[in-house]
Symmetry: C2
Subunit: 361 residues, 2 copies
Amino acid sequence: MLHAIVLAGGSGTRFWPASRRALPKQLLAIGPDPSRSLIAATLERLAPLCPVERVLIATGEHLLPATRAALPELPPSAFLGEPVARNTAPCIAWATAIAARRDPDAILCVLPSDQHIADVPGFRAALERAVAATADGAIVTIGVKPTRPETGYGYIELGAEEAPGVRAALRFVEKPTRSVAEGYVDSGRFVWNAGMFFFKASALLAAVAEHLPSLYEAIEAIEAAARVGEDEERRVTRERFPSMPDISIDHGVMEKVRGLRVVPSDFGWSDLGSWESAWELSPRDDAGNAAPAGAVLRDAQRNLVRDLRTDGRQRVIALVGVDDLCVVETDDALLVLPRERAQDVKLVVEALKGSARSSLT
Amino acid sequence: MLHAIVLAGGSGTRFWPASRRALPKQLLAIGPDPSRSLIAATLERLAPLCPVERVLIATGEHLLPATRAALPELPPSAFLGEPVARNTAPCIAWATAIAARRDPDAILCVLPSDQHIADVPGFRAALERAVAATADGAIVTIGVKPTRPETGYGYIELGAEEAPGVRAALRFVEKPTRSVAEGYVDSGRFVWNAGMFFFKASALLAAVAEHLPSLYEAIEAIEAAARVGEDEERRVTRERFPSMPDISIDHGVMEKVRGLRVVPSDFGWSDLGSWESAWELSPRDDAGNAAPAGAVLRDAQRNLVRDLRTDGRQRVIALVGVDDLCVVETDDALLVLPRERAQDVKLVVEALKGSARSSLT
């Protein structure tokens, strides 16, 4: 049966002031639907194929309360809190072992919790195709058809077709230069690595044993402890996590594994990397502004206005004669910056971190 | 003795969202001193020459409570509330008659309540010179040496010197065209009309009798009623005000009166006409930003940031990569617009006036 590992760690600063250390991006409703957090939307997309009873949420221990609060329909056992952050390989191997404990024949899909997908039926079709392609023990990934020569993503080179809509994955390429990325897009032979992986639990654990033996040994120790009891499992997990290799599943396993497959797809994927992507995905008026209904905009074009205050007080946001700005306010912060500099939110976070007001980050 | 009429009517919209119908500009601390309203600063400048006991504040009836609250040191009798707005000629004639009732030999200075003056000793010197020039019954004004070919102000042409620092006023010119204004500035023969007037009560009332006889008749009726008693005075004032001529003291009296004098001056005057002037007058950092101490500014230059919230909650305002903006927030509004478009605040006020949210104007 299909189980899901939803990756919900990380501490996005790129959506400050909405995102905070204790409130990362996946817990925010920054997508086009202002009523649903990204992680809740992720589970909703998944529900027809993998109901919540078979979902594991892998997050940081410190994020457990906020993450549980964002997903009240999940049982407590669905939440895995990493004692320390050790990138994705340890947490995926760990969650896979736990799923295998519950269902030795588990097929797993690993999905990020903080992406946006416009074409949900298209996504589900790709996911079913990827799951089917795991039947013979292969590890499978979904690759997103690139729409621009993005230099911030990893790419996967497509090989021969192995089944309808399923290609061999020839190699992973980390963030290429602009000109290389342009060549990739023009060639039609490359897709973006969207961080979605599909495998039988046994296949992933075998790959971990081969390519990350020290991690496999730690996972085995946790499994042995789990057979003793929950307290022992907790103790050994806490003991072993800090010395697990701090490596991504991409570098640690996917780039090395033989017979990796990729399902090239095109379902309106966005990694929602900044306020700029939030603007791109949001409904906009004729002047290109994405703003709350009550905002007053005059001679203002292509602005993103987000009012994320929670105090419920009436307030008007007025923009006159400004174009291409992000204006975001929360209860304790106001941010104004050009959309094209959306990545530079980090400058503010850095400035606050080094100040008496680090609580605002 | 010197008495003062401080003009505190009007309903500035140019400082929205700080200014509102019920909270006009003079009641705001938008000058360089964030602890003092403009009207309080006006009285403070005046105090050594004209203590508060001899000050009359002419305002609209609806503004009386807020104006009294801004000037708690003044006695209730200092506040004159116009039943309806009828421009400056009626209210100056009315206030002059009331001052004359208290002191038949009163010399009056009429001063706007919403200006900023950088060089206070210079201002006081000009004022004393102007007061001295009223001795023979002349009406006197202070003219401000123009620093730019401003097309939004009235100008006064200077004539012969009648006493040291006192010139004849040849004529008033309303808001000239740009090229005419440039000629005025270059000639050195023109000064800005700053709306400050000085006269013996008897001289102003005689000029009103000559040039605005219907107004004079109404004022006489109020004076007759005042001799009957306060209730009668209130009744007749309320009865007569609506039919008084709706005309400025400039048009109604000053442009027509013979022997008008002007004291040309240069004391760092500003009419604080917009957020742009507030920026000009404010202390600024090396990058030209006038912002609260806690604001985070990165690659941001020459911005005006005003946090006028009163809820006392900690809040950070962050600007990255934006130049020459006004960012102003109050408890119920946020405004973002370029400094050079500061006058266009009125577009927001107009939009709100025509909406369900006219309470925000």
